[in-house]
């Protein structure tokens, strides 16, 4: 969806506040939100693409005026409500009012490190043949999906070259909507900065964007 999260090339956000002493967390609640999000995710009630979609579909003005962990908190509550794990009244009161729903698993303390170290790979085997080879000229489709997608607005309609083939990966557009993983070939596509931003940009500069096959023609 064309929402506020798709920030590439937007202007007006000012300078970048790069303070080397800046801590990763600015308040205790931010730590809890990180941990709650990871632990709730481990219940298997949604996937990474669903959770990205929950955050980016927050109202644009709210998204842009919220801190990172505030967005995570809002996204987490939305996921819990959407999956029926909690209801509005429970959230408001912080107390259980309806019985819990069955979940795939509960992350225990001694399972945390193994779960982190294992991660969840997103590459999949496929029978399908890749449509493009390294060196092929491609165009990012001029598409505007209504739901979750990972094709940034700034590359749509632009021409590039396939630089590398990553393999076949879970397709976020489908996975985020509960429509299955629908694995697709994933390419690293190289764009000239000038192709995207115009002639005043350095002729040498390049932008590399990872793109699934359905984004390309």
């Amino acid at each position: 969806m064309n929402s506020a999260h798709d920030l590439g090339g937007m202007m007006g956000f000012g300078s970048i506040e790069n303070d080397p002493a800046d801590p990763n967390f600015h308040a205790q609640w931010e730590k809890r939100v990180l941990a709650l999000t990871l632990a709730a995710g481990a219940t298997g009630s949604w996937n990474i693409d669903t959770s990205r979609h929950a955050r980016e579909s927050l109202p644009p003005a709210h998204y842009l005026s919220s801190s990172y962990y505030r967005i995570w908190l809002d996204g987490l509550e939305k996921l819990l409500l959407n999956t029926g794990l909690v209801n509005e009244q429970e959230l408001a009161e912080g107390k259980q009012l309806i019985p819990p729903k069955p979940i795939a698993r509960v992350l225990k303390a001694d399972g945390v490190l193994p779960a982190i170290m294992a991660g969840s790979p997103y590459d999949r085997n496929t029978e399908t043949e890749q449509k493009f080879a390294a060196g092929d000229a491609v165009t990012a489709k001029n598409i505007h999906p209504q739901t979750h997608t990972r094709i940034p607005r700034y590359v749509r309609g632009k021409q590039g070259v396939v630089d590398k083939i990553h393999g076949c990966h879970v397709f976020p557009d489908s996975n985020s909507q509960g429509l299955g993983e629908d694995p697709q070939w994933l390419y690293r596509v190289k764009f000239k900065a000038r192709e995207i931003w115009g002639a005043e940009h350095s002729a040498k500069d390049l932008i590399f964007v990872d793109m699934w096959e359905p984004y390309l023609e």
Partner: protein, 210 residues
């Protein structure tokens, strides 16, 4: 609630934080009461990312690549395997790609759509990496962004920006500082800071340990 919005503008940040603090506590008690999360696991998750997984991992990878040409080649060909061989695996680092800074090209990593970042080798992303300012500007004016971080590149040096739109995660292999030929991996690792592996700084002899 409507109350929430006006609140952001009417009060100080401090009181907003305390309201959020209460909201997060309420959410945590609810999820624990319903049996969805284990409070001890929450503590371990926080401790892991505060103390166990951070940019020292990435610095070890870089130092080894600087010291061992075969390892470096492996890293550039198959970063996930080469990094896993040092014990750094897992969440937000399942599919690693390493890009090498050279005399001809400087690499810069961003995630314009959210804040994808190689947690397995760099830990949690710094606040600036997650900011709309960085996410919006890194692709359209990378040289200005680099300038603000103190990196002035010759016009002849190409800037390669990597937008992390998929589950592939990018780590920059900075250029090895001159005059370090006989340095040990441990000494070299101390020259490599977080920003140099994102691409917003160079590795230098003065290397701070941020």
């Amino acid at each position: 609630m409507a109350h929430d919005h006006s609140h952001d503008h009417d009060h100080t940040e401090g009181s907003e934080l305390s309201e959020i603090d209460l909201r997060v506590r309420a959410l945590e008690s609810l999820l624990v009461e319903k049996g969805y999360v284990d409070p001890e696991a929450l503590d371990v998750l926080i401790d892991t990312y505060e103390t166990k997984i951070g940019p020292r991992n990435g610095a070890a990878v870089v130092a080894k690549a600087w010291s061992d040409p075969e390892y470096k080649q492996w890293l550039l060909d198959d970063a996930s395997a080469a990094i896993a061989s040092l014990g750094f695996t897992g969440r937000q680092g399942e599919h690693m790609v390493v890009v090498e800074n050279t005399e001809a090209a400087h690499n810069l990593v961003v995630c314009t759509l959210c804040s994808c970042y190689p947690w397995s080798v760099l830990g949690l992303p710094p606040t600036w990496y997650k900011s709309p300012a960085y996410r919006s500007r890194a692709v359209i004016e990378p040289r200005k962004v680099l300038g603000e971080f103190g990196v002035e590149l010759d016009e002849e040096v190409a800037v390669h920006v990597h937008d992390s739109t998929a589950e592939t995660r990018y780590l920059v292999l900075p250029r090895r500082p001159e005059g370090t030929d006989d340095w040990s991996e441990e000494q070299l690792a101390a020259l490599v800071n977080r920003n140099s592996m994102i691409g917003t700084e160079q590795a230098t002899l003065s290397g701070d340990l941020a």
